[in-house]
């Protein structure tokens, strides 16, 4: 059996301490109560602060339990918050790739489109924020499924000849996505259309969404029918940039 992780045990003790009484506590009080060096206590409290489990009062500098802890049972990241935090990175991805960009999250075994940037050619396009996509047939959805701990694969409707409609094949593809850190769909939902996507990670590496591009297969894929490496790089860089802004380490 693996040993106890000391800093997690200490973090739990700090949370119990803060939850234990009324009123906020200063760093010195926390360190004294747990018999920890001030620097050690500070490191743990800062980390708990970064993930939102504790809050610091601006004037007194003292700590209390954070709102994120109280809402642990509800949605981790509001979808409108996700859009607002990623908008500055989704735009350059559309400009660099020349394709439309979408950001999605899983909602009741569908992909909810939470942000959409038009393909930068100024043709008539319609915003499809709020649309629901099938996870197994889209790059966005497959990336989200790959990192979804609650396993359901959804309804595997075959949209085209290339849709991964068998659980065994799809499960193998999801493992490959986890291995590579990105995913694609090549004419798996619509003939002639391909997509590339990568995960957006929050604190601790938790996947909170996926960002990706989609466009005509001849532009998204190379002569061998594989996603173009430059586009994959652009997508992964955008995903990493959003992740960094959310406090995740990217990947």
């Amino acid at each position: 059996m693996p040993g106890q992780v000391q800093s997690i045990a200490r973090a739990a003790a700090i949370l119990r301490l803060l939850a234990g009484g009324s009123g906020r506590l200063g760093l010195l009080e926390i360190a004294r109560a747990l018999d920890l060096p001030k620097g050690t206590a500070h490191g743990i409290v800062r980390t708990l602060h970064d993930v939102g489990f504790v809050e610091q009062d601006k004037t007194s500098g003292k700590y209390q339990l954070g709102a994120a802890l109280l809402h642990l049972g509800t949605s981790y990241l509001d979808v409108n918050e996700l859009r607002s935090r990623s908008i500055n990175w989704a735009d350059p991805l559309a400009a660099r790739s020349g394709e439309a960009v979408r950001i999605g999250t899983l909602l009741d075994s569908k992909v909810l489109v939470v942000h959409h940037v038009f393909r930068p050619d100024d043709t008539l396009q319609t915003l499809d924020v709020g649309a629901l996509l099938p996870p197994h047939a889209t790059a966005l959805g497959k990336v989200l499924l790959a990192y979804n701990a609650r396993g359901g694969l959804g309804d595997l409707v075959p949209y085209t000849r290339r849709t991964l409609a068998s659980p065994r094949v799809l499960t193998r593809a999801l493992a490959a996505i986890r291995e590579a850190g990105w995913g694609s769909d090549i004419e798996e939902m619509t003939v002639g259309v391909a997509g590339i996507a990568a995960p957006i990670r929050g604190y601790g590496g938790l996947v909170v969404g996926a960002i990706g591009i989609s466009g005509p297969v001849e532009r998204v894929c190379d002569a061998h029918g594989q996603p173009r490496i430059t586009l994959v790089t652009h997508v992964r860089e955008a995903a990493r940039a959003v992740s960094r802004d959310l406090g995740g380490r990217g990947q």
Binding site: D78, R83, S84, I87, D91, A94, A95, V117, L127
Partner: protein, 496 residues
């Protein structure tokens, strides 16, 4: 053409940012530092100009490091700045003689009332296109001269220099004492037609000409940097809202942009002649490219837009982050008959009612926090509609599309509502940082990094568009309700 990048410094009210842009106008890297806000007395807001300068010295090299480039790859640098904020410094030591007075500062209210009664007040306002308020630079400079011991004497001897934030930074960077037409157009000291300091206006405010910077075009070489990035040309300066107009490529009369931040600023390009407003809008210079005539703009300022969402978050605690307002607003289908008019410190354009205060009307037991969230977002939509109506009436140019930028453009519910109430398409460009981009565009244009305005237009791409999608009768009824709500804010503060 030397260099593969253009950089901009956006010296804003709360922070200073440096952004590196590539030839396609795409953001390559950013660095940013906040500076302290000082509130020494009620109504006073000050910045430390030296702190801001030190932040410039830090953010510029860091933005270059993040982009992995050095000064030899920079074609030019442009400045966009918070407008009207006033600095006076010693010509020899380079040290500010007093804290900078920030545009929001209202310490000059008694002075402004006195000036408004003085002979020549009408003429001064007509000449500069602005109403006499605490907002603009002239009264702030006069206040410094009156209230800093010995300063008037030093000013008359030419020992001290005055500038708005861009002048201060240009002087620190190049050693030249210069401003641009857009910033000069916010001082109340410049003649809008001749684009030069006017002796009668200087007399009216009691400003010695020796302290004034030389007025230059917005896009043109101001000088070469002696520090930070020695050898790089400083080739543009614009007030932040004018920079956003330029960044949105509103180069033709009739094109308009609105920047949605804490407050919101709608600027309409009116072409090469100033349009005098009959409806409470400001007449201002949009930009001037060296060797070309100045382009003018009408400006509608809305005091409270994003800050109403902040109040909902911080003052009422109903939401924990600003974007959650959309989530909450979407829990209901309409406003339930509830309207919020955020006249927190009176109403700006087009009403200019300082005695008005905010109201929430139409409250019934049916109203939930979702309806209130909707009313918060709708307030921004209707306030924009009022300014657009005033602009259409003043300019005779009917707005056909509104280009938007700023933080609130990530709110899809608000953007759709805007299109619905304005009855024109609302378009968001692919670069959200239009203030910085505008300064970079102007600088790049001045040094030939970009060939012409058409070249800049080709960089502009639509990232999102919202089309009007409501019944005209609904629009009419709702606007009527809004206007009746606005009337209920009037005359709240009683004269004493």
């Amino acid at each position: 053409m030397n260099g593969r990048y253009v950089i901009s410094i956006d010296q804003g009210t709360t922070s200073t940012r440096c952004i590196v842009f590539d030839h396609r106008g795409q953001l390559v890297s950013v660095d940013q530092r906040e500076h302290a806000q000082h509130f020494p007395r009620p109504g006073w807001v000050e910045h430390d100009a030296m702190e801001i300068w030190r932040n410039v010295e830090k953010v510029v090299p860091r933005a270059l490091t993040r982009a992995g480039i050095d000064a030899s790859q920079i074609a030019a640098i442009g400045i966009a700045n918070q407008r009207e904020t006033t600095v006076v410094w010693d010509r020899r030591t380079g040290v500010p003689v007093a804290p900078a007075i920030v545009w929001q500062d209202t310490r000059t209210d008694a002075l402004v009332e006195e000036l408004a009664r003085a002979p020549g007040a009408e003429e001064v306002q007509r000449r500069c296109g602005l109403p006499l308020t605490t907002y603009f630079t002239g009264p702030k400079l006069r206040w410094l001269l009156d209230n800093t011991p010995g300063l008037r004497k030093r000013a008359e001897r030419g020992d001290v220099l005055f500038g708005t934030m861009e002048s201060w930074l240009i002087w620190k960077l190049t050693g030249e004492h210069l401003t641009d037409v857009t910033n000069a157009s916010r001082t109340m000291l410049m003649d809008l037609s001749s684009l030069s300091w006017h002796p009668d206006s200087l007399d009216f405010f009691g400003i010695p000409p020796a302290v004034l910077p030389e007025i230059r075009s917005s896009a043109g070489v101001f000088g070469t940097l002696r520090t930070v990035l020695p050898g790089v040309r400083l080739a543009a300066a614009l007030g932040d809202q004018q920079a956003a107009l330029f960044g949105q490529t509103c180069f033709t009369a009739g094109e308009a942009k609105c920047t949605y931040g804490t407050g919101s600023f709608l600027l309409l390009n009116t072409g090469t002649g100033p349009v005098r407003s009959q409806h409470g809008l400001l007449t201002t210079v949009g930009y001037r490219i060296e060797g070309e005539p100045a382009v003018y703009a009408l400006e509608g300022s809305i005091a409270i837009t994003g800050s109403l969402v902040q109040w909902f978050r911080d003052g009422l605690g109903i939401i924990s982050t600003a974007p959650e307002i959309e989530t909450l607003a979407r829990t209901v289908d309409d406003n339930g008959g509830c309207y919020i008019v955020p006249a927190f410190s009176g109403l700006f354009a087009p009403h200019w009612r300082s005695e008005a205060r905010g109201v929430i009307v139409g409250l019934t037991s049916y109203i939930t926090k979702g309806h209130l969230a909707r009313a918060v977002l709708e307030a921004t939509g209707w306030q924009t509609r009022e300014v657009v109506d005033a602009m259409n009436a003043d300019s005779g140019l009917m707005l056909r599309t509104l280009k938007v930028d700023g933080g609130m453009t990530s709110d899809n519910l608000l953007m759709q509502f805007l299109a619905d109430v304005l009855d024109v398409p609302v378009v968001r460009p692919m670069v959200a940082e239009t203030v910085s981009l505008g300064a970079a565009y102007a600088a790049g244009l001045a040094v030939g990094y970009w060939p012409d305005l058409e070249g800049l237009r080709r960089n502009w791409h639509r990232a999102a568009q919202w089309l009007p999608n409501v019944d005209p009768q609904w629009r009419k009824t709702e606007y009527d309700n809004w206007q009746r709500a606005v009337e209920r804010t009037f005359d709240w503060i009683q004269p004493h």
